[in-house]
Symmetry: C2
Subunit: 112 residues, 2 copies
């Protein structure tokens, strides 16, 4: 089991901002997963990988693939109080789900 969190590289997020947005997406997708997936992922050490996407369009395409595969997923938009314009899409989390299923969506992306 794993969760992949995809973060945009094209909007100039600072390190702390990025980490907060990754955490936001992670929790949101986790809460949309079923109890078995949650339990299995946690008992296996809640494996997470953080990956790069280059644009909003890429994030939406990946979210659509996750939806078609029936995987828990969540897109996060920033409230825009600080670094970004309100509503800016920042991150997408896919899973927790079996690794091979997550990889069908995010397997071609680079590690952040």
């Amino acid at each position: 089991m794993k969760q992949a969190i995809v973060a945009r590289t094209d909007i100039g997020m600072g390190t702390g901002k990025l980490a907060a947005q990754v955490a936001h997406a992670s929790l949101k997708a986790y809460e949309s997963a079923g109890p078995d997936a949650r339990r299995q992922w946690k008992s296996g050490g809640q494996k997470k990988v953080v990956l790069k996407a280059g644009s909003e369009r890429e994030v939406f395409d990946l979210a659509e693939q996750a939806r078609r595969e029936g995987l828990p997923h969540a897109v996060v938009r920033d409230a825009g109080h600080t670094q970004l314009d309100p509503g800016t899409v920042t991150t997408l989390a896919v899973g927790p789900a079996p690794e091979a299923m997550v990889d069908t969506v995010t397997g071609d992306l680079s590690l952040y």
Copy 2:
């Protein structure tokens, strides 16, 4: 309501690694919070701040303060599969809890 996640600056974590460890701490502390704190935090947009700590000792001191204040909190150790030695303390999350209570523990730290 907010959650503060404190990350060490002295162990050379890359950006993606840091974000994953922040997410790990965030979820772990969230799950140790009560249902009212969870609900209030989420309905308020799950505010998160990511802050800096300079050493393992500082992380443990902050965790001890959070414990004394009765705040939900979680320390994360890395499994050590990649960049870090196994068991390295990486992050601490405090909250979700009322902002003023979180600030009694982490209010003096710098934003990451």
